[in-house]
């Protein structure tokens, strides 16, 4: 069966197809934000009729990554939503955490809650922390609210009752009552969407789900209908934030899990590239126009974590947005990309970002009216990016404008333009390296041991500098970096994450209770995976628990030993694994302290998609054949411009080593090989750089 993946992005919708013969085909069309399905239908149609593509419409698996959910929140274009909670807590969304994300700025602001105060309703009921129903559920109060919802035309509802993370009975009953009262209602229960302790985080997650759910449902239905018109009948699969794909029904029910759909697919692709170059653990580095994303991929799998934030008032200020507690690939987003604007701050120091020139007007060198110097302008001035070869030469850059913009800033700082440009480049690399270090340290990993997988328009330009700062010895710039997320979709397994909160001390172990929890989670997980037509024998289960010392408030994730280990041996092994992870993270353990599990997690997944057969690189000869020109390029090691060879990536022969300094130009990006680097292209077309 052929597999076709699309990734709906802000500017382009990317496609990757593995056809019936196992050959990979790539495609790109302009996105259609008003109706994202249109670009998908267009691109699918164009790709299938392309000469050489062998794929029948009636046996085609379609996979998607989408920004529909994220954009609905960022642009506040979701549906009018109601929030139902335990009576007395209707202001939960407005009260937030009461902390401030910036200590000295008296003018801070937060995004207005997605549900305004007059759409928040209290249900008469109350569960205590131990599951006692202190106030039984007043069913008539639910009936009154349902009538009110109908009267006001509110059709999407988020329900979050106190302590429902562990005691969901009241919440489930409310769900049933609402369903009976109004079949038109779309109801999101917090105990389904996000069964995690801490009411504000859980409510916030559930509200985002409810706010976007009708849109996602409509998008899925529309796309499937439009494809059907073209004769394509496919059960679609959608990429979640945690790097697995789920069937349309699941995607429509819990769209909040698709918030990081595209970036997650990119991280999955990075893991595949790591496998191709025989590296177990890597740091993926995706740098685009406005942001960069870093992702630790240890032992071939991106790290999954449970904390995200969306719609920040100040995009790169942690704590200024809506918290989301969903399983997602752990990535760090840095507010610096090719379009980031460099300026002189109030202390007279160079600053890069957080403002971006975006695509319009863009960097000064785009010649579209941008006058402020950006990272891309610095990269042009330094000779890293060639003015004549940007986007394969289709887009002429104005190096003069880049220089003028930088020179003006340099003058205000009292330095030369070259020094200023290098400063911009270096400062951005420093920011990336610090974020990577922090991210790796979060998981107890030394970043200098990790090869850097660089993609995105600016990733390969900066990868050498970032790697040097990290003390990393190897950089990989993969082939097909322009459509990375679509490639990732083709590899991603069908996977669903389910969890349950059941606090249990390891010294008061209840093996039966744990078995029961996992029996339930397996049933739930299996159901979803089977819907995606995965063979029942092909399902695998990964079990983890969030553990902590009794009394702590934050947990660390620990993989569970096999359940049939025998109770005592199981607990001993689990304790040992916890202490090992804890020591790796925090440098010490806490003596004589009991340990407890809080949340139990299961990931049910099908087999991974088979990677495409890529054509073996057939270019032979010497590097000289790929030499396009020479140009002066600035390097920190020499503190000066050096005449540097510029190579055509596509003409580089396989396995022939080139020595830095060198520049290698691709269509979508440019690879900088510094004086301490040597590079070659492998059989799959990946460029591999070693740094001394």
């Amino acid at each position: 069966m052929a597999r076709l993946a699309f990734d709906t992005g802000g500017t382009f919708t990317d496609f990757a197809l593995i056809d019936d013969l196992g050959i990979l085909h790539l495609h790109k069309v302009l996105s259609t934000p008003a109706n994202p399905a249109a670009a998908v239908v267009q691109g699918v149609g164009e790709l299938l009729v392309r000469p050489g593509v062998k794929s029948s419409k009636d046996n085609l698996q379609i996979l998607g990554a989408t920004t529909v959910v994220t954009n609905a929140v960022l642009e506040r274009k979701g549906v009018e939503t109601a929030f139902l909670t335990t009576d007395g807590f209707q202001d939960l969304l407005r009260i937030r955490t009461e902390g401030r994300y910036d200590l000295y700025d008296l003018k801070i602001a937060y995004p207005a809650p997605l549900v305004p105060r007059d759409c928040c309703f209290g249900i008469v009921e109350r569960m205590a922390a131990d599951g006692r129903a202190i106030t039984p559920l007043d069913e008539s109060s639910v009936g009154l609210i349902a009538a009110e919802l109908r009267a006001r035309g509110l059709t999407s509802v988020a329900v979050c009752l106190l302590h429902s993370y562990k005691f969901p009975e009241h919440e489930q009953k409310v769900g049933a009552l609402l369903a009976a009262a109004g079949p038109e209602l779309s109801v999101s229960l917090s105990s389904d969407v996000c069964p995690e302790i801490r009411e504000y985080d859980r409510a916030s997650t559930t509200v985002v789900n409810a706010y976007t759910r009708p849109l996602m449902t409509q998008h899925v239905e529309r796309l499937e209908a439009d494809l059907r018109k073209d004769g394509i009948v496919s059960r679609m699969l959608w990429m979640t934030s945690s790097g697995g794909v789920v069937p349309s029904a699941t995607a429509s029910r819990t769209p909040v899990r698709l918030i990081e759909s595209g970036p997650a697919a990119g991280a999955v692709a990075a893991a595949e590239y790591a496998r191709q170059v025989n590296e177990a653990s890597v740091m993926s580095f995706d740098m685009g126009g406005t942001t960069a994303k870093l992702c630790l991929v240890p032992n071939g799998e991106p790290m999954i974590g449970g904390e995200l934030e969306i719609a920040r008032h100040e995009r790169f200020h942690r704590g200024s947005g809506f918290p989301l507690k969903i399983q997602s690939i752990q990535m760090i987003e840095i507010g610096a990309g090719g379009g980031s604007i460099a300026s002189r701050n109030r202390l007279g120091l160079l600053q890069v970002g957080p403002h971006s020139a975006g695509a319009v007007p863009g960097p000064a060198c785009y010649g579209r009216g941008g006058a402020r110097p950006t990272v891309t302008d610095a990269d042009v001035l330094l000779g890293y990016i060639g003015a004549d070869s940007f986007l394969g030469g289709e887009f002429q850059l104005d190096a003069g404008k880049a220089r003028t913009a930088i020179a003006e800033l340099a003058e205000s700082l009292g330095v030369t333009p070259e020094r200023c440009a290098w400063g911009i480049h270096d400062l951005v690399n420093g920011t990336m390296a610090e974020a990577a270090t922090m991210h790796a340290a979060d998981y107890g990993v030394d970043p200098s041991t990790l090869p850097v997988i660089a993609f995105g328009g600016a990733g390969p330009v900066h990868a050498y500098g970032v790697a040097c700062k990290l003390n990393a010895k190897k950089v990989v710039c993969p082939a097909g970096a322009g459509v990375t997320s679509a490639v990732g979709l083709l590899i991603a397994p069908v996977a669903v994450d389910v969890s349950a909160s059941l606090p249990m001390r390891l010294d008061r172990w209840d093996a039966d209770a744990v078995r029961d929890v996992f029996a339930r989670l397996e049933k739930d997980g299996r159901e979803v995976v089977l819907q995606a037509e995965v063979n029942a024998d092909g399902i695998s289960y990964a079990r983890t628990a969030d553990l902590r010392y009794v009394g702590q408030g934050h947990e660390i994730s620990v993989a569970l030993p096999p359940l049939d280990f025998g109770a005592d041996a199981f607990v001993d092994e689990l304790f040992a694994r916890f202490e090992t992870n804890y020591a790796a993270l925090f440098g010490r353990t806490v003596a004589n302290s009991p340990v407890e599990a809080i949340t139990w997690r299961l990931r049910a997944s099908g087999p991974k998609g088979a990677p495409a057969k890529t054509a073996t690189k057939t270019v032979r000869g010497s590097a000289r054949d790929a030499l396009k020109t020479h140009r002066p390029v600035y390097f920190d090691e020499t503190q000066s411009f050096v005449t540097t060879p510029v190579y055509d990536y596509y003409a580089l022969p396989q396995d022939v080593e080139i020595k830095g300094p060198a520049i290698v130009e691709q269509v979508e990006s440019t690879i900088v090989v510094g004086p301490r680097g040597t590079a070659h292209v492998d059989a799959r077309g990946n460029l591999i750089m070693h740094i001394q």
Binding site: R94, Y104, R588
Partner: protein
């Protein structure tokens, strides 16, 4: 990487190196918060991490910080830790600790920890952290104490670790003195880890750049920040600006007065005329006072520069000995925040004519209210947890105050679900109070109501810290007062501070004050009033009374 001579005054180099120091403090912040045991540390973030040079001057602090801690820490280091333990008495693996209010932050629950950092055999700096312990022995966290000895165990500056070996007696004394030994000792361990992280990372940083110490880098950071602060001050008209504010106090009202003297490049704040020190535990020590003086002025003058020693140098303050802002040595001060948190509002009030667009109204989060809940369960085990609560932020020149916001401190709240796991109480409601924001062109943020019920079978003891019950938050630039706070037990008003026994089934209601408004209410836009009414933040009755608003 081998480096040529580093020019610390280069605008690019300095930015890169400085970023790294902040990053190191943030790494330590993460380590502390993730491993802490008590809700007050791990949920409320009542702690900081600060990196200091060899003279104890602040270089960088964690991004999510609390004003009082970040200033108190270097002051404690310079004036007390370094004289008590000069470099020749320290070796790698030593960790110094105290909770003496006179040295640290003005009350005993705050543990102040400093770890010397060695590089190439030389002491080149200190990593420091402060965290608020969930208990410190003595009278439970309450404003009722009448001298420092009632307030708990006091540790002079001592070596908690000597060359990496724990001083077991100290741990034992702490363990024996506090009600929640597991949480307290666990939190102290988290502080040790955080300091270790900073020490390790700073050394790594020095090696990477081939530096022997942080002296030149520190000088560059300090001099640039100081010059910038002086420049900002010079843009203000020279002169003296004064204000006063009346607070509820414990059992008699307290007046705070300030005179802000702006000169060329320097500001001196004199608190002469402020009330005398009082018997109960709301006296504010020097470090705590100064921290809030500096904080308020930095918000107005230079909110952007990452805080460090240089930002503080142009600012000085004083208060008469024996006043509530400079009490004598044995004065009680456990709840010094009830008075000290109002200092920024007092300074804003004094400067409302100088920088009207920068100041904000008095805030209902100043001070933090604390509901400290203590008792024993059926097994006789001690339980306890303190919840922080905040009223509304004062109105600003650009927008209404934010509802329920921590200011000037920066504590998050403990989620109700977490709090109810720690103590057998039920939070019956936690909701905004309509009409509580002080009217203004931009009104104050709303206060909140919390109802708290004892669902255990035994007596529960609440120790309450509150303010602005008799005297509401004031407005600025023509803005009006917010709604005052209220405290009720089973529906009846009770004394709003200190011990309130809560029998099984009894209810405590606390209503936090709304923030003061900014600007004349007559200038408030009709759209904002209509929106407030629609959202139920202001009733139509109050819209009419306060703004002369009539529905069309």
């Amino acid at each position: 990487m081998a480096r040529q001579q580093i020019d610390f005054n280069d605008p690019i180099t300095l930015q890169v190196l400085w970023n790294r120091l902040i990053f190191i403090a943030d790494q330590a912040d993460r380590a502390l918060g993730r491993t802490a045991f008590s809700p007050v540390v791990r949920e409320n973030h009542d702690y900081v991490t600060v990196l200091m040079d060899a003279k104890g001057r602040a270089l960088a602090q964690c991004t999510w910080a609390i004003p009082v801690f970040i200033t108190s820490l270097p002051m404690a280091a310079q004036h007390y830790f370094l004289p008590a333990f000069p470099p020749e008495t320290l070796e790698p693996g030593d960790v110094l600790l105290t909770n003496d209010p006179l040295i640290g932050t003005g009350h005993l629950p705050d543990m102040v920890m400093i770890t010397p950092i060695f590089h190439k055999g030389k002491l080149i700096g200190y990593s420091g952290s402060i965290a608020h312990m969930p208990d410190i022995g003595g009278r439970p966290y309450s404003p009722e104490s009448t001298d420092i000895f009632e307030e708990g165990v006091r540790l002079p500056i001592l070596k908690l670790y000597k060359a990496g070996k724990p001083t077991q007696e100290v741990f034992d004394i702490i363990g024996a003195s506090v009600r929640l030994p597991r949480e307290v000792l666990g939190d102290i361990e988290s502080m040790v880890s955080a300091n270790d992280v900073m020490a390790r990372e700073l050394v790594r940083f020095l090696e990477e750049y081939g530096l022997d110490d942080v002296e030149d880098l520190g000088t560059a950071i300090h001099s640039r920040s100081e010059a910038h602060m002086r420049q900002a001050i010079s843009r203000w008209p020279a002169g003296e600006y004064s204000s006063e504010v009346t607070l509820d106090g414990y059992n008699s009202e307290v007046t705070l007065k300030c005179n802000v003297k702006v000169e060329s490049g320097a500001i001196h704040v004199d608190y002469a005329g402020t009330s005398a020190q009082v018997l109960h535990a709301i006296n504010v020590r020097k470090h705590y006072r100064y921290a809030h003086t500096v904080y308020a002025l930095k918000c107005l003058l230079d909110p952007e520069t990452p805080n460090n020693e240089g930002c503080m140098l142009p600012i000085t303050d004083e208060a008469p000995m024996g006043s509530i802002l400079n009490p004598r040595n044995t004065a009680a001060g456990n709840l010094r925040n009830l008075i000290g948190h109002v200092i920024p509002s007092l300074i804003f009030r004094a400067l409302q004519g100088v920088v009207p667009d920068k100041v904000q109204g008095d805030s209902g989060g100043a001070p933090i209210w604390g509901v400290n809940c203590q008792g024993q369960n059926e097994l006789g085990e001690q339980y306890g947890a303190a919840q922080n609560l905040h009223g509304g932020q004062g109105g600003r020149s650009t927008a209404d105050g934010i509802d329920t916001l921590s200011f000037p401190s920066n504590c998050r709240i403990t989620p109700a679900e977490m709090y109810e796991l720690a103590v057998p109480a039920l939070i019956e409601c936690k909701e905004l109070i309509p009409d509580s924001g002080g009217p203004g062109q931009f009104r104050g943020g709303l206060g909140q109501r919390l109802v708290f019920r004892n669902i255990s079978s035994g007596q529960m003891n609440i120790y309450l810290a509150s303010e602005h019950v008799k005297n509401p938050c004031f407005g600025v630039v023509g803005g009006k007062d917010g709604r005052a706070g209220h405290v009720l037990k089973n529906g009846e008003p009770v004394f709003a501070k200190g011990h309130i026994p809560l029998e099984p089934g009894a209810r405590l209601t606390v209503e936090l004050p709304g923030g003061g408004g900014w600007g004349d209410p007559a200038n408030r836009s009709r759209e904002l009033i209509t929106e407030d009414i629609r959202l139920g933040l202001v009733t139509s009755e109050c819209a009419k009374a306060d703004y002369g608003y009539a529905a069309k």
